[in-house]
Symmetry: C2
Subunit: 191 residues, 2 copies
């Protein structure tokens, strides 16, 4: 796996920014090309089609989210602390990468998404599942399906990031802490 060509990266970046502003429709290939500083034909040197470009971009972007999970998911740190770190890690990641967040949300609700593997094969979710399995195994969490825990927690993170990232609501540090706590109190093992 060689490093991604500069041009390819530029195309990814432009697509991400343009899709945030204009949606999938509303971002013609010609615009992507101009924005990336390449000719229209060049895109087709790297990608078979617009659909292919978007699907590859999704993978590329998901890798970054996966990297965040892998960074925070550390087996030698106590689970509870790990949970709060993971929450904050993903939250700030999404909040500070709104173009990526918007792209994700558009993608998973679009017809492209049907090309994605089932949730069990999805690397990102698999990682989250493992994380919550650990919490259950160590007796820190309620005995609820890890899949339920994972999607519940993740959706909460996403919605908080959207709220602040898109400027619909301002959340103070204290608000974030309350939100984290409220999540944690729900999923933690009750004595």
């Amino acid at each position: 796996m060689e490093p991604i060509a500069e041009k390819k990266k530029a195309i990814f970046k432009s697509t991400l920014e343009l899709v945030r502003e204009n949606g999938f429709h509303g971002t013609p290939m010609s615009l992507v090309a101009k924005h990336a500083g390449v000719a229209a034909g060049t895109i087709y040197h790297y990608f078979e089609s617009k659909e292919q470009l978007i699907c590859e971009l999704f993978d590329y972007a998901q890798q970054q989210a996966i990297a965040v999970v892998e960074r925070e998911n550390c087996a030698v740190i106590p689970f509870e602390e790990c949970f709060f770190r993971l929450w904050m890690g993903l939250y700030t990641f999404y909040r500070d990468n709104t173009d990526l967040l918007k792209f994700f949300e558009q993608f998973v609700n679009s017809p492209y998404d049907t090309t994605r593997p089932p949730i069990e094969k999805d690397k990102f979710y698999s990682l989250l599942f493992q994380f919550f399995e650990r919490g259950i195994r160590e007796g820190e969490l309620r005995e609820v399906s890890p899949k339920i825990l994972a999607t519940h927690v993740h959706s909460s993170i996403i919605s908080a990031a959207k709220l602040t990232g898109f400027g619909r609501l301002k959340l103070e540090q204290s608000d974030l802490e309350q939100l984290q706590l409220l999540l944690w109190d729900g999923i933690k093992r009750t004595a």
Copy 2:
């Protein structure tokens, strides 16, 4: 406010179904027309443009979600019970109206969404805010911003409905109860 013309309703319905299957792009007006059993021109008798159609459809669909909240949000029922009813009401509503759910999710992540009023003016969210304010006032909930509570709870409902509605995961009755409980335990006032 007179009843909506039959044709108009048919156009709404077709758009909803087609957008679920094909996304905003991928549902040309000609297809909407054919599906609704009307001519292309007829759509333009009722709607100024495709954008207008989609925005009006969003309002129309949101009305239905609002109706669910109003139905379940009953001041004479104890708050806790009301919460569980509201949860279940919205959950089943979204789960059984997947076309509407998908349309919502696509809309709020699309550029159309920028035409929507700020969250304070949004009737649906205002209702939710009121609901959670009541919970706080009555001492049933933690003293957390109602906006945070509302979006947190709503995002959890949506993600559960998506999971089951789109067949990515099967949730048993017991799973749902656990999910409800886990939410409730997070937001309820701790003694």
